[in-house]
């Protein structure tokens, strides 16, 4: 073991399997006698279910059963609970199958179970549902207006909860004394996650043992097991095993407990046959939890010399028709707490109204709350600089939290762990050559071309989360992570992690950490995840937590292993433990390197146990739970250059630079990829992606024909660089990397477009910045 693995760009071990079609996804799991489910979904956004006639469907050859919401309730199936509670929040029942009313287009009202997916789908078309269409409200701003149709009787005004954070009096006072106030309204539009693998579940109940196994596309199998067992289906937790095999992307959408896996599991137990469901792409569009969907009014108070004095934000957040698992946390603790950004803003107050509408539920989507906060702040900072006539870079420098101020307590509850915002900005500007750009921009403007630059000096929070803090804030779960490090008699190691990989590359990065710490070859380490039957209770992967929390648990486990191994080695070497050192995979006695025991020697003895220290148990295995003391706060500077076409409103992204500070990085190549992908998603929100409902609550962007995903040829090569400010929160100094690209890039693009259009007097256009919208804003200018 010469080279350190931590920090090395090692190719992903999982890729040969995945790119040669040898992955094992849920739909690839084939069990004999499997039945297939097809869901009958409401075509209406809001309708009373007068009756459901499954007669014709049941007569179709191959159909085994048809179930309705009423039948599920009668058999004891409970509503799907919410995992994060806000005080005075309304929690209407979310039945896996709608019982009396359908509340969004795609709401499942019945399920057909049949011999084949084709027959199931044929039969689903034969189920006759008598709907009485009811008035619809799809827009969250309209939902809170007087007289809007109520989504749930228990929330007649459609308000799910009201939440606020920050010192209102101090904020009001700062505004009263401000030299200038900048105001802007923002629409942060709705997105659809579109993981490449659609959601799928396969449940297999064993009537002999009473055990049920559920293969499901989840980012957190233990959370799935706990909620489905304890809350929805009433299965003893130890009788339900949840396996999440290879999963093709989640972006948050596979965190949540969805109706389909509950129904499939219940049906398998009812029929004593395996039951499978794989979403059709149309169902993914309609039923995967959507992201974003805010209306915000923001005001920033400024001093005459260009300092931010206060920020006031009022946000309406769309929850959709039902509360998805973590929905309440997104526009609150993952949004309001990030509104300080990278700036010393003495007073901040944010008021959030979460509302129900007749739309698909909204929950975490890559970044989850933080992109909404970052977009708002970074746009406001540019607007403020423009208003004051100060260069946006100068304005940022003036207001940055200095690197000597950490840990830094913000006025919105969180304490930033470490940072050097100026450092990242300087590095980015150096690579970019800002003065040269501005000169060139002047030249291009004279030629009638509109080129602009946008900056985003973002901060985000990840590494969810200190359990005690999360609990105090309403989380119905702890947010630590687990790891079991099992050393086998031959010295090979299996690491069982509670984190889950659905594209992140854990099989590689986690092995790098474990092999490094144990000083053994990476090939000797196997990473196992995604199976409640093998892995200790863990919380899964979201909020960029696998690096800062998941690997920390593995690190702690390896330390326990080394401690015990050292005891065994000392005994074998007939030396005092204090004199034994572990170097290069060998235990030796200080001063006499000739006498040594390899890691394998010690592992073998741990299991043979022929010659062990007194009072030491045989075996070499350790379990660890890492509960972080704080969030971690990655930061950085993203720079985007665009050209806007005056005649068509088209935006071309000419250049993109990202300098991120993610603390210490395990695998730079994998992290580069995360940044590339994140930037693509964030640019895509700014320019292309847009989930749109019409007035009747019909999703009019419900397929790839009209929902625009980013294409490689639309994006420039992303120039990636980093600074490194280790986090003190976890033993490896990691800050987390999975979401920074998405969070940082959207405002960088929007700021660039506005900079390009500034000679025409344009200050703001709401996203997505489609050619049609831009051209409309330019009309007559």
């Amino acid at each position: 073991m010469a080279e350190k693995l931590f920090g090395a760009s090692i190719k992903r071990r999982e890729d040969p399997r995945l790119i040669t079609g040898k992955g094992q996804f849920v739909d690839d799991v084939r069990l004999p006698g499997t039945l297939h489910a097809a869901f009958v979904r409401s075509p209406h956004a809001h309708a009373r279910i007068r009756s459901i006639d499954a007669g014709a469907a049941k007569k179709l050859k191959g159909v085994v059963a048809v179930y309705t919401g009423k039948e599920l309730v009668a058999s004891g199936v409970k509503p799907i609970p919410v995992g994060w509670l806000i005080p005075n929040m309304k929690v209407p029942a979310h039945h896996p199958l709608a019982v009396d009313r359908a509340r969004y287009m795609g709401d499942a009202v019945a399920v057909v179970i049949a011999d084949s997916p084709y027959v199931a789908r044929d039969a689903a078309e034969l189920v006759e549902v008598d709907y009485e269409p009811l008035p619809v409200v799809a827009d969250p701003a309209k939902a809170v207006q007087r007289g809007a149709p109520a989504v749930h009787d228990e929330a007649g005004d459609n308000v799910c909860f009201k939440w606020q954070l920050g010192d209102k009096a101090a904020t009001d006072k700062a505004f009263a004394g401000a030299a200038k106030v900048v105001k802007q309204s923002f629409r942060n539009h709705r997105l659809i996650p579109n993981a490449i693998e659609p959601r799928a579940s396969l449940a297999s109940a064993n009537p002999g043992t009473g055990e049920t196994t559920l293969w499901v596309t989840t980012q957190n199998p233990h959370v799935h097991r706990l909620i489905m067992a304890a809350f929805v289906l009433g299965i003893p937790e130890h009788k339900l095993r949840v396996i999440s095999p290879d999963v093709g992307g989640g972006f948050g959408s596979k965190i949540f407990i969805y109706p389909e896996e509950c129904v499939v599991t219940w049906a398998s137990r009812a029929l004593s046959r395996p039951v499978k469901w794989t979403a059709e792409r149309r169902e993914s569009f309609l039923t995967d939890a959507h992201g974003r969907d805010h209306y915000s009014d923001a005001e920033m108070a400024l001093s005459a010399d260009g300092r931010i004095l206060a920020l006031r934000v009022n946000t309406i957040a769309n929850m959709g028709a039902y509360l998805s698992l973590f929905a309440p946390a997104i526009p609150t603790y993952l949004y309001g707490t990030l509104l300080a950004g990278a700036y010393q803003t003495p007073a901040i107050h944010v008021d959030v109204t979460a509302v129900f509408t007749h739309t698909t539920p909204v929950d975490a989507y890559r970044g989850a709350g933080r992109p909404e906060a970052c977009y708002l702040i970074e746009r406001m900072v540019d607007l403020a600089a423009g208003e004051l006539g100060i260069d946006p870079i100068e304005f940022r420098r003036k207001n940055f939290i200095g690197k000597d101020k950490f840990p830094y307590q913000t006025p919105v509850a969180v304490m930033y762990d470490s940072g050097n915002y100026q450092g990242a900005l300087d590095k980015a500007l150096e690579a970019f050559d800002y003065p040269a750009f501005r000169k060139e921009q002047e030249q291009t403007r004279k030629k009638g071309r509109y080129v602009g630059v946008g900056f985003s000096t973002y901060v985000e929070a990840c590494g969810l989360a200190p359990s005690q803090v999360a609990g105090a804030l309403g989380a119905q779960a702890g947010l630590y992570e687990s790891a079991t490090v099992r050393v086998h008699p031959t010295g090979k190691v299996t690491v069982f992690t509670g984190s889950h990989s659905h594209g992140q590359g854990h099989e590689t990065t986690f092995a790098q950490v474990a092999a490094d710490e144990l000083q053994i070859p990476m090939e000797d380490v196997e990473i196992v995840h995604g199976d409640t039957g093998q892995v200790p209770f863990g919380m899964g992967t979201y909020g960029s937590r696998s690096g800062p929390v998941g690997t920390a648990a593995i690190y702690m486990g390896t330390q326990k292993i080394k401690e015990k191994a050292k005891k065994i080695a000392a005994h074998l070497l007939e030396a005092s433990e204090a004199d034994v050192v572990y170097e290069g995979g060998k235990f030796s006695v200080k001063g006499s390197p000739g006498r040594s025991k390899t890691f394998g020697d010690v592992a073998l003895m741990a299991y043979l146990a022929h010659n062990m220290p007194k009072n030491l148990e045989p075996g070499l295995e350790a379990i660890s739970f890492f509960d972080p003391g704080n969030f971690v706060f990655p930061f950085g500077t993203h720079i985007c250059v665009v050209e806007v076409m005056r005649d068509t409103g088209q935006v071309k992204v000419l250049r993109y630079l990202a300098v991120d500070d993610l603390g210490r990085v395990i695998n730079p190549m994998i992290v580069d990829g995360m940044v590339h992908g994140g930037v693509a998603q964030g640019v895509s929100q700014a320019l292309w992606e847009h989930a749109e409902y019409d007035e009747n609550g019909q999703l009019i962007t419900g397929s790839f024909m009209n929902y625009a995903m980013p294409h490689a040829d639309d994006l420039p090569s992303v120039q990636v660089d980093r600074t490194e400010t280790p986090s003190p929160v976890n033993p490896l100094g990691i800050k987390g990397a999975g979401e920074t690209g998405t969070i940082a890039s959207t405002p960088a693009v929007a700021n660039a477009v506005m900079d390009a259009l500034s000679p025409l007097g344009i200050k703001h256009i709401d996203m997505p910045l489609t050619p049609g919208r831009i051209w409309e804003a330019l009309r007559g200018r």
Partner: protein, 290 residues
């Protein structure tokens, strides 16, 4: 995505195919490249009881030239058209348009005849082949006939093909000297169909004056439309920047433009002008060199 049940037929001859279509009438659909019909079937928006696959029939693919005409088999893929040396040399507009259709997968499977028979109002081929004054050969129970492209497409997803009729070949008259075309397209960022596509074929005299032009727009209306005003305005004018700009300003005249997610009617009119101008300028530049 599970289609409704259907019976699959793969006739070996054209006659067999026509007979099958005659037998099953409205219950049958023709399968060419599968790029439009199969997605509709998977969404169950199309539920034909019988599918007649033409891909086993010989002689429906390939490009050849004879007597001043280019013949393209209806089942020739977009990729094959784009790659054809003959097309690239004689009709560069057709090659460049073929390369802008959908994505690589669509171009490798989708066919020129399938696209015409499907008649999507935002498809590229109808505009290009209208500008090129192409005809199609239609085979049916009463034998073969030739139909001008402008008569073939009558509305959105609607052609003049009678039940039992099949499109077998596209015929394009090769242009005279100093005549060439260009295709300019703004693709929908999601579907890659044309938000607007303008195909312009321009014929110049020795002095660079426009003798005639054929300009066809796709994407903006319910079917491909000739930019009649522009064609008239250009006639007899030098194909210079000012004249082309002036003529293109009214490219959308006669089109019923509808606002949608892409933009307002005014924006669409603007796109029609901008893309017409670009297409005509590029076609003229090509024409000067031919």
């Amino acid at each position: 995505m599970y289609s409704a049940p259907f019976e699959y037929h793969a006739p070996a001859t054209l006659a067999e195919a026509i007979a099958l279509l005659g037998r099953y009438g409205d219950e049958a659909k023709v399968l060419a490249g599968s790029q439009s019909l199969v997605p509709l079937m998977k969404l169950r928006l199309a539920q034909p009881a019988h599918l007649v696959d033409l891909r086993k029939i010989e002689g429906l693919t390939g490009v050849r030239e004879a007597q001043g005409t280019l013949f393209i088999g209806a089942l020739t893929t977009h990729a094959a058209v784009a790659a054809s040396e003959l097309v690239r040399a004689k009709l560069p507009m057709a090659a460049e348009a073929a390369n802008l259709i959908g994505d690589a997968q669509v171009r490798n499977l989708g066919t020129i005849g399938g696209s015409l028979a499907h008649a999507d109002p935002a498809a590229d081929w109808p505009a290009v082949l209208t500008a090129l004054d192409a005809s199609v050969v239609v085979a049916g129970p009463r034998g073969e006939k030739t139909v001008k492209l402008e008569q073939l497409i009558v509305g959105p997803l609607t052609t003049a093909l009678e039940p039992g009729e099949l499109l077998t070949q596209i015929r394009i008259p090769l242009p005279p000297a100093r005549t060439a075309g260009a295709y300019e397209k703004l693709p929908n960022p999601a579907s890659r169909f044309a938000i607007v596509g303008v195909a312009a074929e321009v014929s110049l005299d020795a002095k660079g004056v426009v003798q005639w032009s054929r300009i066809a727009l796709t994407g903006l209306g319910s079917k491909v439309t000739r930019a009649g005003y522009v064609e008239k305005a250009l006639q007899g004018k030098p194909a210079d920047a000012a004249a082309v700009k002036a003529a293109s300003a009214r490219a959308a005249e006669g089109l019923e433009l509808r606002p949608d997610l892409i933009g307002s009617a005014a924006y669409k009119a603007q796109l029609a002008s901008v893309y017409t101008e670009r297409a005509v300028l590029r076609a003229s530049a090509r024409a000067r060199e031919r």
